[in-house]
Amino acid sequence: MNVVVCVKQIPDPAAPSALDPTTHNLDRTGKLILDDSDAYGVEMGLQLASGEGDEVILVSMAPGGETSGLRTALAMGAARAILISDDSLAGSDALGTAKVLAAAIKRAEPDLVLTATESTDGYTGTIPAQIAELLGLPSITFAKKIAIDGSTVRVERQTEAGYDEVESPLPALVSVTAGVVEPRYPSFKGIMAAKSKPVDVVTVADIGLEAGQVGAAGARQEITDVSKVEARAGGEIVVDDGNGAARIVTFLEELKVI
């Protein structure tokens, strides 16, 4: 079974994020790392594609031929990666990104496509359904459990009230929530092996798209104004020396909650 896992390489979320002051695009000039949300999809993919001849293939889009996040996922055990890197992709919106990822995924002819539910930095949350539609695949989003049974994928899908059991024939796309599995840490052997695993770097033209369909030109939306949100005024901080609960009770009385 071939499993494609879409992964995003993002600026370190521990560092402060910023928008470019003129283009209003997310600043992605610094070092990029594997989005934490994608480690779950990679782990799930590795668990599902563990048989003889099975393969986990990563698909990612990033500026400047960036591979550091991909190496992390390759070190976890993915076999190879397809990276779409092209200057014309700067400023791509969710649909543009989905078009690029879909075109690259098609080359890998997967039985199953896994994605996160949303990225940590952009979090539009629409890309899984957009990719599925572009590829003509069924999709099951917000999976918290996945099993493959022959040519059927069975998923426990989160709902507002609990969860649904959902199934679909393969090939299909499934988006996974954080917590679906515990991602493994790359072993030393894995890290060494990852250095020589193939990363196929392709351009927009290579995957048969035109520059106008993607990037800022294809986004057909613009951010017109960016401002800092007024921080909430700091409240009263009390160090508990046995009277913390009593202070809360007084606060609740003032609010007339009790």
Binding site: L19, F142, Y163, S168, V239, G244
Partner: protein, 321 residues
């Protein structure tokens, strides 16, 4: 000049149109001349009055989608209406599980971009949307530059639900076209996780617990305090991922957005993920042993202390009243 036509993707729950559906219809009414709802289910016609009450004059009825996940048939029905010449200027879609499926599928079908995580909308000749980024520290305004229809995916609690006193909406059948392979994901069983007390996104008081509780069994304290305050029990993503409590309890970016009168955060450090979902609460009390925890930056009252000391004392004090 108001926008001519806005459609709202309307989700129906067992008690009628969902709260976010009511919010979106209320907002649509204030920015558009014509408001229609798109809905699906076994008995859509019975909700025409409730949808009309919030501002829809027309209901496009996709009909019963059975056990198929709604994303594909609902997006297909909307695309068919638009391809048939009935086109809104904008579509408002709830940022729910099914809503995001509908928006994503529709965007790809129509080749139209989407603006997501919308928390405000204003009309000034066209439509501008407001978004908060980076855990709510930055606000951005955006708009579409190309041809419509414009698709906005809106977060719950962004607008106030207000009945407008409209009569029952006219119901028009809008069946989903055949979907082929894309429409083959089907639900085989539904599980409703047990819930007592008020719903998380409707409660006036919410008590939430996080990793600081130390272990799953300590979550009982959160439930007990919530009960004593007639509120709902919530959770941070960390303990939902750890399997201590069901996902339906999760407050945050990937969980529920809540704006109660009172939010009590117990043993929650306040990751961006969590703050996004609760910082709109009117009053916030935080209990955490780390005085540098980000949760204290949004708290009206912060108690630097151990939840294992403070919570039992608080529960005892409330019981004795």
């Amino acid at each position: 000049m108001p926008v001519a036509t806005v459609w709202v993707v309307a989700e129906i729950t067992e008690s009628g149109p969902s709260s976010v559906t009511q919010e979106l219809l209320s907002k649509a009414r204030s920015i558009a001349t014509n408001v229609a709802a798109i809905t699906w289910g076994p008995d859509t016609a019975s909700h025409a009055a409730a949808l009309g009450e919030y501002g829809a004059t027309k209901v496009y009825d996709v009909g019963d989608v059975g056990e198929t996940l709604p994303g594909v048939p609902v997006a297909g029905a909307i695309a068919a209406l638009i391809e048939g010449g009935d086109t809104p200027d904008a579509l408002l879609v709830p940022a729910s599980y099914d809503g995001r499926d509908v928006a994503g599928r529709l965007s790809a079908k129509l080749d139209r971009p989407v603006l997501t995580n919308v928390v405000g909308l204003s009309e000034n000749g066209g439509l501008s949307s407001e978004h908060t980024l980076f855990g709510g520290t930055v606000a951005a305004t955006a708009h579409f530059t190309g041809e419509g229809p414009q698709i906005f995916v809106v977060r719950a609690k962004s607008f106030t639900a207000e009945p407008g006193g409209g009569g029952a909406a006219e119901v028009v059948s809008a069946p989903a076209p055949a979907a082929g392979a894309t429409g083959t994901a089907t639900v085989t069983a539904r599980h409703v996780e047990e819930r007592t007390g008020p719903k998380l996104d409707e409660a006036a008081v919410i008590v939430s617990g996080g990793r600081g509780l130390g272990s799953a069994d300590k979550y009982e304290m959160i439930e007990e305090l919530a009960r004593l305050l007639h509120g709902a029990a919530g959770a941070s993503r960390a303990i939902v991922d750890a399997g201590w409590v069901p996902y339906a309890r999760q407050v945050g970016q990937t969980g529920k957005t809540v704006k109660p009168n009172l939010y009590v955060a117990c043993g929650i450090s306040g990751a961006t993920q969590h703050l996004v979902g609760m910082k709109g609460s009117k009053n916030i009390v935080a209990i955490n042993k780390d005085q540098d925890a980000p949760i204290f930056s949004v708290a009206d009252l912060g108690i630097v202390g151990n939840v294992h000391d403070v919570l039992p004392a608080l529960i005892e004090a409330l019981k004795n009243r």
